[in-house]
């Protein structure tokens, strides 16, 4: 007789239900705040000249739009479950995948822009910069989705609990390999890139603040808060997905932080762009480099 020890990762039904509620509440709240961000940007663009020329707020808003549409696609997908024809299920899976990839791509473009602002600093002028970013942000995901669609990888997807009972069904991937490559792999690359950029940025922020004369009390905490804000912007909370196998606690943290990303972006947007320029310049390291970037572009 052959004996062995079998391992089975489990989430009990109560945890699954709680995670679904957290996701729905978080995504709903995020959508409201992302809508505020988009409206606020539109108003500011008509009222202030700098919003027409600066790229950073445009990238923030593009990320906000992609996250808003991702949340919307999530609600529709979870709400509809497997209703409708096979073609409709295929389309819902493809749309959800597209906006997920758009959101990931814009997070990596945020990280790229941050790299130009804080690390590279000089010779960062690119002609039609935002147009090129937009092509990467909206067209690259479309190409991946078209490729995945041609391979007929979209379809019904079930999430099961510890008793092998289906707890959630939605239109997503029916091919595991395509899911691992185009979602997990893509997310991992974005996460590693963002983490690398953020590490360099945090090194810059803390070495700069200690080198300059202004060793004010609280400067350190401002740096920490700036980094936390930037972490949300470049999508670092999504990296918690790698830790969800450690237990339900990390799954809760992951669901909370990723679904509230829109709220964090709104707060970031308000802190950066709503107070007067002088307040921002004296209180935020990132705003200072932002200003430097505008000058270098001119």
């Amino acid at each position: 007789t052959f004996f062995a020890l079998l391992l089975r990762p489990t989430l009990d039904e109560a945890t699954v239900k709680a995670l679904i509620h957290i996701s729905q509440a978080g995504c709903g709240t995020s959508m409201i705040f992302l809508a505020f961000t988009i409206v606020l940007y539109t108003v500011l663009r008509f009222s202030r000249q700098r919003f027409k020329s600066e790229d950073a707020p445009k990238i923030h808003v593009s990320l906000s739009i992609s996250l808003f549409l991702l949340n919307l696609a999530f609600f529709i997908n979870v709400g509809q479950r497997l209703k409708g024809s096979d073609a409709a299920c295929w389309a819902r899976g493809a749309i959800f995948h597209y906006f997920l990839l758009c959101a990931f791509t814009w997070m990596s473009l945020e990280a790229f822009h941050l790299y130009l602002l804080v690390i590279k600093v000089f010779n960062t002028y690119f002609s039609h910069y935002f147009l090129k970013l937009s092509l990467v942000g909206w067209v690259l995901p479309a190409l991946i989705v078209i490729g995945t669609g041609i391979a007929n990888s979209y379809g019904p997807y079930s999430i099961r609990d510890e008793k092998n009972v289906t707890t959630l069904e939605l239109c997503w991937f029916r091919e595991k390999i395509a899911l691992y490559v185009t979602v997990h792999g893509y997310c991992l690359i974005v996460f590693l890139f963002s983490a690398a950029v953020l590490s360099l940025v945090s090194w810059k922020i803390f070495t700069l603040s200690s080198a300059t004369a202004g060793k004010e009390k609280g400067q350190h905490w401002k740096g920490v808060l700036t980094l936390l804000g930037l972490s949300c912007l470049v999508g670092l909370p999504w990296g918690l997905a790698l830790l969800t196998s450690l237990g339900p606690f990390t799954a809760y943290v992951f669901a909370l932080f990723t679904s509230l990303q829109g709220v964090f972006i709104f707060c970031w947007f308000i802190i950066l762009y709503c107070p007067s320029q002088s307040t921002v310049t004296s209180s935020s390291g990132t705003a200072r480099v932002d200003h430097a970037h505008t000058v270098s572009q001119e």
């Binding site: 020890l5 079998l6 099961r160």
Partner: protein
Amino acid sequence: DSTRRDEKPRNVCQGSANMNSYEDFDLNRTAGCFSKCTHSQEELCHLGNLQRYWLNFETYLVERSQMDTLNTSFLTALVKSINTSVSEDLYFSLTPSQVPKQMTKDEHQHPDRVRLPKSLFGSLKSSRPMVRLGIVVLDIGPGNVFKGSLLSREDGSSVLNNRMVALTLGHIKVTKLAEPLEITFSHQYQPPNMNLSCEFWDATKGPSGDWSSKGCSTEVGVRRTVCRCDHL
């Protein structure tokens, strides 16, 4: 010529050829199926035949093999004649990549080991003075062989270290033991949401066999888990 053209290459993972041949060559070739038989190569493999090949290997070892030990990259085995009048429980080490070895009383705390209670042998005392014991540690690799319904669960279920331990006593059906046999598996710290379950391969379950926990209990520890089963 036309017959030759139609002849298909012999595919060992279909398990139709050399099903009862356990020469080194056959063992190695069949073990290659542990990595070849994956989700994408499913049609090239006959899981039922392959699994049966390894189940029969236990019987071959204790009944026909002249060897006492076997040591390959995928399998280690020990065959030993045991006196049914043993006065103490028997312990054998199951250290990965080492041939199982009988342990002395002082070495009972070996991380991977099996304990066979003396009462197991005592029940056979009246019918035979000696009995052949076979212990096999098999690395089943990451493929589909010996995974059973774990494959359809799609939740990342797995066999710990892809390692199976086979215990055979003569060609005797050993069931309903009063005192269970004990297998200890050592492992890394497992996260709290990981369910650990001691199971045996039930060849009669499902179309080509499946894992079953019937008659087995699991005592989960931080770094080692003890499996107790009332049968072989």
